[in-house]
Symmetry: C2
Subunit: 429 residues, 2 copies
């Protein structure tokens, strides 16, 4: 399969992007993607859509957003799975993910942020200040949250370039914290109305809740194939689908993902798997893996081992739990949203015991032989929680490996050595 990037230079120029620097970034992706993805044998045919989207990640969707803006639609850039996209869509806006995933941007971020900040935050800020990401240039407003120290302070820097609206996520999960989060959603709704000039109605919010739930349902359906004894799709491919979920048009994404699942249903009927029968199974837990972070999946799956799930924000945490669709008032819907989003168990909460229960459940459901807990370097929250998680999993007899990485490729060989040693242990279990 040959895929090529279309030329979107005219659009990038109109977005006041730094074209020369951006060209360098564009040059890197096809090679990296080719090595990791296009080398796969037996990739489902319907992955072609995602392959094209990712190879044109700075083109296809940005062009759609620019077109929408010409019609007066406002674009909301978000960084976190706690920000309720439903509110944005209900106000007639478009929500798009903005997490910076490339090492290319890290150096730029370090101009204004401490080196010992996680790559995700450094890359996000770097992408904006260097004008080398169309999503950052397009967004009319950024929606931040108070999830971690690095992000809290990054908003103050990003706010110099694009207006940042900050939602205050509670730090605990008491009943009153859910109420406080509902109030934050209520205020965000007013902000979204102000930005878009549209009123959110019972109809539009009800429709938006279904829209986003349908995306979650499609992802849940996709991930259910990973629970099977012989998964018909690779972990790598599923990760890519999850990553694209943050950027893509939700209706099309849902349709394409369900189409992919139809193909996988057929594969199951035909007893087709991408893994050898009896392949060992690994669950990843920890910090998010934004595009093009495929390093660890590539290492594990190159060893003929299945990655059966990601308990991360670019995985199960993103689509687990639906919003109650039975509410008939705005207040009821806002509360349903608060309830659903507060069920996400991020390490930013103290304590966060339910996350450990989630992971134990995923180990059973996805039939994982072992867990690899990955921490993006300098993420204190997941780093400390990793200590508590390892302790809890070991107590239950679950084999676990803790890894730390960043966006660079410098640790590839070292990570591979550690993963190989871990898989050796799994093979001897």
């Amino acid at each position: 399969m040959v895929l090529k990037m279309t030329d979107y230079r005219e659009m990038w120029k109109n977005l006041n992007m730094d074209i020369e620097t951006h060209d360098q970034l564009c040059k890197v992706l096809p090679q990296a993607f080719g090595d990791v993805y296009l080398s796969q044998v037996n990739q489902p045919e319907n992955m072609a859509y995602y392959n094209t989207v990712v190879l044109n990640i700075h083109g296809i969707r940005p062009a759609e957003l620019v077109e929408a803006q010409k019609k007066g639609v406002k674009v909301f850039g978000t960084f976190c799975v706690y920000v309720p996209d439903e509110i944005v869509f209900a106000a007639g806006g478009i929500a798009t993910g903005l997490c910076g995933g490339s090492q290319f941007w890290v150096h730029s971020g370090e101009k204004v942020l401490p080196t010992n900040t996680c790559s995700l935050i450094k890359a996000s800020v770097g992408a904006r200040i260097d004008r080398t990401c169309p999503f950052f240039s397009i967004a009319d407003i950024f929606v931040g949250e108070t999830t971690c120290d690095g992000k809290k302070k990054a908003w103050e820097i990003l706010n110099k370039f694009t207006q940042v609206y900050v939602m205050e996520l509670p730090q605990q999960k008491r009943a009153k914290d859910v109420t406080a989060w509902a109030q934050e959603i209520r205020e965000f709704l007013i902000k979204a109305e102000e930005i878009t000039g549209n009123k959110v109605t019972v109809e539009s919010l009800g429709k938006a809740i279904k829209l986003v739930n349908n995306k979650r349902r499609a992802l849940q359906r996709l991930y259910s194939f990973r629970k099977l004894p012989n998964p018909p799709i690779s972990g790598k491919d599923c990760l890519l689908v999850s990553q694209i979920a943050f950027y893509d048009d939700p209706v099309r994404f849902t349709e394409m993902t369900n189409k992919l699942c139809d193909e996988l249903d057929q594969r199951v009927r035909d007893n087709v798997s991408v893994y050898a029968s009896g392949a060992k199974r690994v669950l990843f837990t920890g910090t998010p893996m934004a595009i093009p972070n495929w390093k660890l999946h590539h290492i594990v799956e190159s060893e003929m081992v299945a990655v059966v799930g990601e308990e991360t924000c670019t995985g199960i945490r993103y689509f687990d739990n639906l919003v109650d669709e039975s509410q008939t008032t705005l207040e009821g819907m806002i509360h349903a949203l608060a309830e659903r989003y507060m069920k996400i168990n991020c390490a930013c909460f103290t304590p966060n015991i339910a996350r450990i229960d989630d992971i134990k459940r995923y180990v059973r459901e996805y039939k994982a032989d072992g867990v690899i807990d990955v921490n993006l370097k300098f993420c204190t929250l997941y780093d400390v929680e990793g200590y508590l998680l390892e302790e809890a999993l070991k107590k239950d007899g679950i084999t676990v490996l803790g890894l730390e990485t960043d966006y660079s490729d410098g640790d590839f060989a070292q990570l591979r050595t550690r993963v190989e040693a871990f898989l050796e242990i799994l093979n001897n279990c």
Copy 2:
């Protein structure tokens, strides 16, 4: 002046402390303190009290706490200037600071926390798990808060040893955040009543508010001498007084500090200063300096330059602003407490613009020739804010130096070189 540590080994043994390891820690302090403090010429006579207290930091006050506990009094260990001591005292308890300041504990903390966590958090956790600090062993309860990522997760580890009650500090400063903080104080009051078995009354809370305000007033009086053209006391000594404020009996501390101030009044009348006339003046800003962190003050003052203030939690942030004493109901008092504590401008808030205004004001009030912004390594919050602070101060023509340090002595020579270069600039201004 010769001071020696009394032997409190029997008490430490009864507290189930690790005596052998603790002995090693005790050996280090007198030398370090002697080098930095007892070498000073012309130290005010009334500093003798603080010298004795710090040299017996693990003895005098712990012995008092143990005695109080024998009478049924409960001890609340706290880590942060946002926790309202007034509530504890009003409930008949004793509040004591617990911040770990020694490099001695850092290694122990690293057994359970990531290396890239700030020394303060690592030392605090290390002091508890290794049983080498009587304050940590004595406390009936620890009171944490949600100020930063490292602390939020450290509570989960400390909770395995001693019950931790977490107060949720808002992350922004909108009107509703002050209300939310008042509610947290209300709930903490109930917790304090539960722990002590005593009811908080209008009388007891009113008395406690005055008690802590008086301590603040004494510190404000002390720091006012640093605003004079020829300060009668060194920055080092003032830092020590502020550090001891966290641990000492508030009534005695206030009395002793006022006594020291009386002596300073006399020095002013006699035109006695510890600095040469026209000495350059530096204001420190940034992260706290817990005992025995005297490194930077020592470096600066050894250069015959005056440290005229610390915009830190072990400085002005601790005692700036009083609680309104005119309230006559519990509700009124709780709101007055919330208002006062929310005026503290910590980098954990986003945004935190008022802190920059504070610092500009302190530069004027303390007549500082320059600012040294100090960041305790791996404190993301103050590190990022340092970038914004430097930018703002430079814009106003204020000379500023950003430094990063930790609890080790390894960077002493390097810091001295940088400080010398900075003072050279100040001298040429």
